[in-house]
Symmetry: D2
Subunit: 336 residues, 4 copies
């Protein structure tokens, strides 16, 4: 099945729409391309479509929805029909600013998702035209400009169910997985592209359904991870983890918490690309769990990195107590 082409956009909910918008426009140099109701639409400078990010004001941070573009109109119709036959189907929408009709559904854990085909390409002003014709516009001269959306990482109460759904209903291929000693599937990385993952699903350690672990944007050069960390540390944005190099996916990473509370990752290269049509699934067992997280660089702050997600729910005291850096991050967020 080659019906789903790639991750096109994500909607994030934020209790601090102005703070979130400033983070993405002033620090990451994304362009505001529209407003509608409580929502602001944004695109990174190397993206062709109208937007890759929709920020929507809400009581709590978290995922609004995920948007996948299909490879064709026929592919969209095939997916719509197939999804409508599952309990996850929600029905067709007329689309949104920037794209045409979409079929909406949820993952088994309740993450709202849509597929669509028609898009509106970005309208680039004369001043931003570039002589480098293979990118949509010239490089911005402010912030540390991110280049494009990369992937999304979800928490789920049932990883296996989400994994099966993504494979069967959307044509994803499983690339890597974390399997516990007792055989339980704890995390999966899947893609429809050559990227090692377009989406990942990890076990929610607090048992909450439908949470967002992080959304990732791509820089493509390791130095820009340092550049963005440098400006963030002097501007009161939490830099949570990295720069480092993941074992799983073998990508260079940095994690920060945007002002609305959602975790944002940046990638400093593409990580490994998978061209082999019979590529084996990589299984990270318990003996290699440390490597999966950080091949190079320090381990993630435990347990915050694994339990903090949006919407934020309190981390039980006994878990926080085992953490070195946890209380600062999670307590701030709880009381914030």
């Amino acid at each position: 099945m080659f019906d789903v082409a790639h991750l096109a956009h994500v909607e994030l909910l934020t209790p601090d729409p102005d703070g979130s918008a400033k983070f993405f426009t002033e620090i990451l140099a994304m362009e505001e391309t529209g407003r509608s109701g409580e929502s602001i639409y944004l695109r990174a400078f190397e993206e062709g479509y109208h937007h890759s990010l929709k920020l929507t004001g809400a009581d709590r941070a978290g995922l609004g929805h995920i948007g996948w573009r299909t490879t064709s109109q026929a592919a969209l119709e095939r997916r719509g029909t197939a999804l409508a036959a599952t309990p996850r189907g929600r029905g067709w929408s007329d689309g949104d600013v920037g794209h045409g009709p979409a079929y909406q559904f949820t993952t088994p854990d309740g993450h709202l998702t849509e597929v669509f085909f028609e898009v509106t390409y970005a309208d680039i002003s004369d001043a931003e035209q570039t002589r480098l014709l293979c990118r949509p516009q010239r490089r911005p001269l402010h912030g540390v400009p991110v280049r494009r959306i990369d992937h999304i990482n979800l928490l789920a109460t049932d990883v296996a169910a989400c994994n099966d759904f993504l494979i069967e209903q959307l044509g994803f291929r499983l690339r890597e997985q974390i399997v516990r000693g007792d055989g339980e599937l704890r995390g999966v990385w899947l893609s429809v592209t050559a990227l090692a993952h377009d989406i990942a699903v990890m076990q929610d350690g607090l048992g909450e359904p439908g949470r967002l672990h992080h959304l990732c944007y791509w820089y493509g050069t390791a130095q820009h991870l340092e550049d963005v960390a440098d400006v963030l540390r002097d501007r009161d944005i939490v830099v949570e983890h990295g720069p480092g190099v993941h074992g799983a996916t073998h990508a260079k990473f940095l994690y920060v918490i945007e002002p609305g509370g959602n975790r944002i990752e940046f990638f400093g290269d593409t990580g490994r690309l998978v061209f082999d049509p019979t590529a084996p699934v990589i299984t990270w067992d318990q003996d290699h769990a440390d490597v999966a997280g950080s091949w190079i660089g320090s381990p993630a702050p435990d347990p915050d990195f694994y339990l903090y997600a949006t919407p934020v729910v309190p981390i039980p005291d006994d878990l926080v107590r085992t953490s070195q850096v946890g209380p600062r991050l999670t307590q701030e967020r709880h009381s914030g």
Copy 2:
């Protein structure tokens, strides 16, 4: 059509098999994985298959053949049947060390090509096992190790014919093109993957059919382009052009001439990736020709970079005379 998966291997002909093999094993840290007749098989350390390079002793440098892996056995059979119905079909072979049955054919310009599906995965010794499970082996401790094959660039007497053939018979999508003021197609970049090109075809300025402009391996980090240039300059290998950043494909590049005379490129990142299923074809006209070659860094040495290819044919005196660096490279090669 999704029948061709990716570029799997290339055979290079070399009048200096020992010199060429040392270049790839000692400098680039590729592993010799087999020998057969006049041929040596080599793989880069992040490659999963038995080999991505076959070096074959010959009177003159040049392209042996190109090998594309299909997405499935059914896809291979579809391609074989379709190609057999064209004048370019050559017929089925039993395969080679490292892969199964292949259907062989040529481009309209005569470049020998094959498609196949069955592969032999690399056999990694115990000593080279890695804890980083998503790559096949640990990073070598000698040379400046390249990571994987990236793309091939051919010269042709009829670019348009090659372009049409690759699109119609193999399912490539045209990503970028150079079009002269009079409308003549001078160069094309095509891919079946998310890479901006798996193959490029450029006009042969000397009118020779079937020549190779270069084969490209991938480092993925810009620093390694400098590292390999540094060691090559002190080891009498011609570093021809770069490091720089291409306009077309937007990738970081370096070009060198391996001891057998074939031009080898290295990529320091992936360049732009194309996920958009309706991505527009980028057209570089004459006003942007300089940008297409080098967005960042010096222009290519003209005319050598455009006329020197393998098999080497003499560059007419009147063309050489307009070149600053040409005579050194081409005359050495002619008399060598």
Copy 3:
């Protein structure tokens, strides 16, 4: 002799003060720290003093003066007394915005120079305070911020005389030199610091006295050379040469022409540092001249790179004709 501490500031003359100021403030993120008469004072964000650059409106581009800070007040007085005893002494000045009394003199080729000791440190606003206490302020969020002044490169009609003067009167040590086959000294790199050069003097191929080849600012990371080249190419600033790696000094470089016409270099690392108090002088003879210029990367555009300097004087037709890229740059500048 340890009387001269380091290069503290340079005054550039510019026929386009607004264009030059915008280049340094908008692209390089330098801060305007003062204005006086026709002059604008600027500092880079990691510099401690009031300014490292003084831009002064003038009919023609070129060098205003060079300012060296001494290691102490006593050292300043020693230098003043010694220089006053030479034909190059000009006398004491009261100083300028940002520094105290200075003794002024010229090189044997007429480049105006001064030594001084008292400085005014930069006044950092509350908003720009940084938690990274060992730098003066936080990293700016616009442009591609340069970090500090690095060195100056002069053309001279008598390289040997300038070299002797710098060594004898100011305590510079000769680090590297270019010597022609007939023994003539064509270029010298000297320093009082651990940098491979704080100042270089090259033969003026057009026989003009007192010209400026370039002023260099330091990025310290190779990626930022690409970043600044990228934004400049889309903003009509001439990127002349690089990125590459010099042989002489072994530093990563990029050369651009600022809107006023002066050539500005950027360094992507420090190059080699010289700690050895008996370090041998490196001599680049004719067989290594190509290496001295570019160890990695393309050779400099010849003859422009060697003949274009400020003030600009016409390059004779017979020299221009041997150049590939020369006419564009030099003719524009002549007529501009």
Copy 4:
């Protein structure tokens, strides 16, 4: 005072001379330049002298001695005379392989140190000659070659006493310091060069005199920190901390434990350089202690990073218990 020029060499004691030697020669591509008794002499490829490292077999890991080169013979004699007049003076030695007469003394905490002037330059074989004349030899083609020695970091029971001694007896300038809330000096960074430190002295949390925290070698490019971490992780060498960017000194770092047990740091750039002769001392108070350690990247593993040093002494259980990664490292070393 300008008598001490720079850090020339360090002697490390190792209970595993073969393992240590392999680490430095096979992984870091240092060259063995001599053997004498229990000692092996090594130099990095961009170093001019005979050696920068002397590995000496011993029961326990730790510091052998530190060697500083003076700026002249007269400077050596001045220092010898002055040090002989202090209780720390030990007397003159005839020198060692690679250098001439040395005056030996200790820091107030007992770290054996020497100053000397005469050196033997490295003897480079014909095969290793380079066309890049400003470095001693061509870049090695194995390992991840380090370029030169950078600095040494000592633990001491009395930081203030060591600081005063280095300033008064050797002419070091204090660049940065950590001061506790009660005014106690906990750490100092000092230099005689433009580097932010040639030597640092930190409080020994276990109260042991004369221990070594780490010796640092310089790569000068951030990517090589990742390269060396990558090969080390697959070769059973402990990568303890980093890559990251220090606040204090503002340098890119990586820490590993060599097979003999000594901690080795690598620098990926020079960090900030200090040219200002009246540069203020930077004081890191308790509110900025986290920044001093890691401006970018994770905090150091606490308490191991601060308490583990050579010679290794057991870390009390109550301290280990507060550590996440401590037990692994320290227990292995205790029992090893």
